[in-house]
């Protein structure tokens, strides 16, 4: 596995990306592409991503000395790499005036595959939910990388680039914007990775996974600048549809101060042609991740959502407190508590949520 370690080191030095959660990228001062196959972050890890997840992230590493050479890098052979994530957990939701619901379920088994037709140049990428329900493909695209990976073009179905790619799709900035892990779209994406800059521009159907319905397209652009301790970026998105246009823009940032990694994003969305006419929405996130000791992270976040800037007293807040524990490689547990604070006449906007999750990424 010396070659894999070497590859990991090269990948780290050459830089593009790493991720799992944006705060980890902030913590390490690296781009998303240092750890993930996709420069936008999320999904399948590359060799360094696997190395980081198994050697640096967990509290303990079983089976080998910490920093040892042996780790699962997903490379089955030269032309095929795979990965996956199994997630399940317990969830309890208390809604005022309603019966409390509590359930334990195996949520998903996600499988990733990268077929390297021409290694480092031309590859096919698949991201599919394999279980527990009917299997379905979330991403499927062909990627052409040029100039040592500084430029790439991908075509097919993929998650659009926009803002911070948080793991939590229920976060206001992920939910309200409508660009998350539930809404891949079909189109083309052009990317540029140069030193500290990262740019992604996508043109897609604009149907959030649905079939083409008109001639309008969705355009999404993300520009970010990454430094060792901080990063800033911005996104714009315009979706031209026969059902009304949507224009979204945001700014986001990350900052590392010692053991604390900060994340922030502010989104402003303009919807035209809704049943109530033009609507302007705001969504924001402020998050602190405190690395207590190796393998332990405390996540505290505050989110705000204003569904219509022209309507007073309709704002919603969400507060979250999570303990993320990586006991050993391939295992992550999360214990969390969320408080939703919305208008009193809507009980669901004032719920409390307790959850425990088990993630088995590989």
């Amino acid at each position: 596995m010396k070659r894999a370690v070497l590859f990991a080191v090269i990948a780290l030095l050459l830089a593009p990306d790493a991720r799992s959660e944006p705060y980890l990228a902030v913590q390490k001062g690296m781009k998303c592409v240092a750890c993930h196959t996709s420069p936008s972050g999320g999904g399948k890890r590359n060799s360094y991503g696997n190395y980081f997840a198994q050697r640096e992230l967990p509290a303990r590493t079983l089976g080998a000395a910490t920093g040892g050479a042996n780790f699962w890098d997903g490379e089955l052979f030269k032309y095929l790499a795979i990965g996956g994530d199994i997630r399940g957990g317990w969830n309890r939701i208390e809604v005022p005036g309603q019966a409390t619901t509590s359930d334990t379920e195996w949520e998903e088994f996600i499988g990733y595959a990268e077929v390297k037709l021409i290694p480092n140049t031309l590859s096919v990428h698949l991201d599919a939910q394999l279980a527990p329900d009917d299997p379905f493909i979330r991403e499927q695209y062909l990627r052409l990388s040029l100039a040592d990976g500084r430029f790439y073009l991908k075509g097919g179905e993929f998650f659009l680039p926009f803002g911070l790619r948080l793991q939590d799709d229920s976060a206001f900035i992920r939910q309200v914007g409508g660009i998350n892990f539930n809404t891949p779209d079909t189109g083309w994406e052009l990317g540029w990775e140069q030193d500290r800059w990262s740019v992604q521009f996508a043109v897609s159907r604009g149907t959030a996974g649905g079939p083409e319905t008109d001639s309008g397209k969705q355009y999404s652009l993300v520009v970010s600048h990454v430094r060792d301790r901080w990063r800033v970026g911005g996104s714009v998105n315009f979706n031209d549809t026969a059902f009304g246009d949507r224009q979204m823009q945001n700014v986001f940032a990350g900052l590392r101060t010692g053991r604390v990694s900060w994340l922030g994003e502010l989104d402003f969305i303009i919807d035209e042609g809704t049943s109530t006419g033009r609507r302007e929405l705001w969504a924001g996130l402020l998050e602190a991740n405190v690395q207590l000791t190796r393998g332990h992270n405390i996540k505290i976040s505050y989110e705000h959502f204003d569904p219509d800037d022209d309507v007073a007293e309709d704002e919603q807040n969400r507060f979250s407190l999570l303990w993320e524990y990586f006991p050993i490689q391939f295992v992550q547990t999360r214990l969390g508590y969320r408080i939703y604070d919305g208008i009193p006449q809507n009980p669901a906007q004032n719920r409390d949520q307790y959850f425990a999750e088990l993630h088995l990424p590989f």
Binding site: Q98, A99, T101, E107, D133, D134, F136, D168, D169, S170, Q175, G177, G178, I179, N182, T183, G206, T207, A208, G209, G210, Q218, R227, R229, N239, T241, F243, G244, R246, L255, T257, G258, V260, W262, D271, G273, T274, S275, T276, R279, L286, A288, I300, Y302, H304, P307, D308, E313, D314, E315, N317, D341, G342, I343, P344, Q345, N346, A348, Q349, R351
Partner: protein, 419 residues
């Protein structure tokens, strides 16, 4: 500038990043920042003057739970779904705002499970909406995503609405007069035969009680002249609104003997018996050749005519009688191109002319699809007569065209195949 020398605005000078880092690293500082954020952050809305869905009460107010679309819209879709399922980026194109929910749900196949309708009228257990709300769908997560499940007692109303047929709400009745927005066959069209059904689409639901033989009439002229005493009123088998779309008027002529003649459809917007909307406003029916009908004020009869002449040796007649109803749907749809069958665009007279006349066949490139003045040398004739060397007889999988239809097409070609 080196990272370690990154200046930070400070009255007393530059605060170095290390100092800032130490300040922010302190757990007490982190806690203080977060508490300060929470305290000074935008607080949640008080909800004053808003409905349960967070919209001003003036837009409809709180609606009690009931098995109606309006109630489900207010208490389920608006309250829990439209935060994601609205606007241009609604997941899977499923917009559930008031203007779109009915059209996107009822009778529409699911994108995740194409064999299941999102709402299957009368069959809640076979409706994907119910499966998603109850968490039993084969794909994807339970809805609302990341939120508390909709209470079973609320879903029961959704189930009941679907069991009752998943009808749109009649609403309080619009105050604007209804108008005719479409008619089949098209006004002034020339048909080869009398259609078995005439349909009229309104912009809003008319009052079903005002739809009957005294307000809706089709007559034929007998002598090409109307209102001279010898017109014959057709005995429609039924005149009613569509059960699936109450804005659509269906006139069943299946029992009427087809006769080549001129026909007139009349919908009454004046007089003692007239068509009203659900608010009691009369049809705005004046029609001068362009739809929608009306002059902006309530009242006025809608009168439109069409002819049955049998097929004529003209492109317009062939288009109306053959290409549009038989060839274009699902096959020769366009856009024009080399691919078959869609590339041979027969969806309109202009498109048909461009695709046929003087254009070499793709299957037999040495033969023109339509060779003007020479029907025998036209591949179109070979295909509809079943003598082409390549491929099947057209219409593919359907009955061969009647000989009089083929004769009319032949004659059109032999006369020069004019546009």
């Amino acid at each position: 500038m080196h990272n370690n020398e990154l200046a930070w605005p400070h009255p007393a000078g530059a605060l170095k990043i290390e100092q800032f880092g130490k300040l922010c690293t302190s757990p007490r500082t982190v806690l203080a920042v977060l508490v300060a954020s929470f305290v000074t952050a935008c607080s949640a809305g008080s909800g004053d003057g808003l409905s349960v869905s967070g919209r001003p009460l003036g837009e409809g107010g709180n609606v009690p739970l009931a098995p109606t679309l309006g109630s489900i819209q207010a208490n389920v879709f608006d309250a829990a779904c439209v935060v994601c399922h609205s606007g241009a980026t609604a997941p899977l194109g499923l917009r559930l705002d008031k203007a779109n929910s009915f059209a996107n749900l009822v009778g529409v196949p699911s994108q995740q499970s194409g064999s299941t309708l999102r709402v299957n009228p009368g069959l809640p257990d076979q409706s994907y909406l119910i499966q998603k709300l109850e968490g039993t769908a084969g794909s994807g997560a339970q809805m609302p995503l990341g939120g508390p499940p909709i209470p079973a007692s609320t879903i029961a109303f959704v189930r009941q609405w679907i069991s009752d047929g998943a009808m749109p709400d009649p609403g309080p009745g619009p105050t604007t007069p209804p108008v005719v927005v479409a008619m089949t066959p098209d006004p002034d069209s020339v048909l080869a035969t009398l259609p078995s059904q005439v349909t009229v689409a309104f912009d809003q639901e008319p009052d079903a009680a005002t739809i009957n033989a005294s307000t809706v009439e089709i007559r034929r002229s007998v002598d090409a002249q109307f209102d001279n005493g010898d017109d014959e009123v057709l005995a429609a088998a039924s005149i009613q609104l569509s059960g699936a779309n109450p804005r659509l008027l269906l006139i069943d002529l299946s029992g009427v003997t087809p006769v080549e003649d001129r026909y007139r459809l009349t919908l009454l917007g004046n007089g003692a018996n007239l068509i009203l909307n659900l608010g009691g406003v009369a049809l705005d029916g004046e029609f001068s050749g362009t739809l929608p009908s009306g002059d902006g004020t309530a009242g006025g009869n809608f009168v439109a005519e069409f002819s049955v002449q049998g097929i004529q040796p003209t492109l317009a007649s062939i288009q109306d009688s053959v290409f549009t109803p038989t060839c274009a749907p699902g096959c020769h749809t366009g856009p024009p191109g080399p691919g078959l069958p869609s590339g041979m665009d027969l969806s309109s007279a202009a498109a048909s002319y461009a695709s046929l006349v003087g254009v070499a066949s793709v299957e037999q490139p040495s033969i023109l699809r339509v060779a003007p003045s020479d029907a025998n040398a036209s591949y179109l004739i070979h295909k509809i007569e079943g003598t082409a060397a390549v491929g099947g007889r057209m219409p593919l999988g359907g009955n061969p065209l009647p000989q009089e239809t083929i004769d009319a097409i032949r004659l059109w070609i032999d006369q020069g195949a004019d546009p």
